[in-house]
Symmetry: C2
Subunit: 299 residues, 2 copies
DNA sequence: ACCTTCTATCTGGATTACAGATGGATTCCA
DNA sequence: TGGAATCCATCTGTAATCCAGATAGAAGGT
């Protein structure tokens, strides 16, 4: 009986993702690889981990029991890697950042300039994921450090610190009924609301909905295009609005009684830890938290 | 950074065995494989685990730190395997026993007869190791269940239960000065003592020495041949004496004040556990412990 | 009924794993 | 001091394994 790390990862990721195909997408592997890894694990163990009578695999009782063991083992392994990483006196060769699009880009520029000067040998990957969750990327090992919106259900494997919040403004098209302002908060419910979210995020984003009529869109830019055309209204941060090609056709009317913001936090893997360069960047990001007061948008 | 299970096993076994070559022998692998596994682990970690300036590798400070992590991880993995094994309702296909030669063979015959009837599909390996330590075999995974002498430094990874003791008799050749009997205990020190032990066991067997002049021999049978020829005397159990081709030329004089015996115990891997068949045999071996009184040797 | 998505199986190419041979160095013993 | 034994690192060749991608069948949703 010799289960491999990859088999255990395939098993655990299948449970978390809900299917072999979703697990494969998350891991960046072929679906057949995940399917085969789990099947081989079941052969080695001598019992089924999943019930496959329906289209989607469902954990068996034994599977639940082994899931607990596998999670524990993978956690222990991350711990070992974390210890090794801390003992490693070298600067890591690569750092992968995942930054939610709500985080203002202008804060990153100067910081990464300093980083480049200090760590010229580190290859940086800068992701602004939307189709993936930042927290899940860190958990899965495809990102080392990330800026994310505070999740409703935080992942236990992440170490997180709050770094501030970004205020959100009401945005609509010039011809939208809300464009002139002078309306009550209740009036917002009469018009369609657009919310940015990926397929897996709808449940966690339900708290953001105000209107009963909601469209979910997987792109900030596309959504603002729709807003420009009067499809509905949304709540968006200044820097995203400023960067949109639709900017000239967008208006941000005063919404009395509507103070909304996005709480952002920095996260990294608790056990895996960070290298020297990653630790430096984390400390800088924590030190330079978001400002409390925001300048008004330039016209 | 993706250390494999085999790399961690090679690392840990090298520490325990004292060298890459000894680890390779213990694992039944090529020396180059162990050497390469550890070297690759060091490349991944980014620091040396061993100091190789002398002929034998010596753990570095970082290596000691990683050893603790690796042992913990391997223990956790054994735990997972143990859980899987207990959930596995099938009878295991193979059971490997390692039995110290001090354990009387005649107690095994009937027991294994019952075992064969009850578990006809289980392939049994029966080892009577001398060049290997029973406890280490279980620890390393090359034996599932074992009968061993109580070690002076028990392995923490083993679950053990005492199963009795085997009395030892003084044995010498017919022409040896001690053959006639009628001597005091102090007289034993005047003659050479022969002790069975492998290379790694001398330190743990020091407690058995009575005479200052000791020969260490790696075979019960060879040792009794030497005793027959008057090279020295030894302490041995009845059943080993009875089975020796040298038996007719050996005598067992009464040694007043010399009560010696070997404490035997049953052991298995704490985390890895045992299957259904192995569990059955363990329970039978525990239930049928060694008798307290021994019949005299037949002439 | 049709489309989308999922799973299990199969194929082929690439990569990896490992045993064994070898040379150089260290250590021990006579 | 010299020879033998043992150890380690490197190299080679063979075999086995790994994985992506294609495919067919089934489940589920609209």
């Amino acid at each position: 009986m010799n289960p491999t790390h990859e088999q255990l990862v395939a098993f655990v990721t299948t449970v978390e993702a809900g299917s072999f195909s979703a697990a494969a997408r998350r891991l960046g592997k072929a679906q057949s690889l995940v399917s085969t890894h789990v099947a081989n694990l079941e052969l080695e163990f001598g019992f089924a981990l999943f019930d496959r009578s329906k289209r989607l695999p469902v954990l068996t009782a034994n599977g639940r029991r082994m899931l607990a063991e596998a999670l524990s083992l993978l956690e222990q392994r991350e711990h070992l890697l974390g210890v090794a990483r801390r003992l490693d006196q070298r600067i890591e060769p690569r750092l992968r950042l995942a930054i939610d699009e709500f985080y203002p880009e202008r804060l990153i520029g100067g910081l990464m300039d300093d980083f480049a000067a200090r760590f010229p040998t580190v290859e940086v990957e800068l992701h602004f994921p939307l189709l993936d969750d930042v927290g899940r990327m860190i958990d899965a090992g495809s990102a080392d450090l990330g800026v994310m919106c505070r999740p409703s259900e935080p992942l236990a494997t992440l170490e997180t610190r709050p770094i501030g919040r970004v205020p959100l403004r009401l945005v609509c098209g010039r011809d939208h009924p809300l464009a002139a302002g002078g309306f009550e908060r209740e009036d917002l419910k009469r018009y369609r609301q657009l919310i940015v979210a990926t397929r897996g995020q709808r449940s966690s984003r339900q708290a953001e909905r105000i209107a009963p009529d909601v469209w979910w869109v997987e792109s900030h830019f596309v959504m603002l295009e729709l807003v420009k055309h009067g499809v509905g209204w949304t709540l968006m941060s200044d820097h995203v609005i400023a960067a949109s090609p639709a900017r000239p056709e967008l208006v941000t009317p005063i919404a009395p009684g509507l103070e909304r913001w996005v709480e952002l936090e920095l996260g990294w893997h608790r056990q895996r830890g960070l290298g020297i360069a990653g630790g430096w960047l984390r400390d800088r990001l924590l030190a330079e938290a978001l400002p409390d007061r925001w300048p008004p948008l330039e016209r």
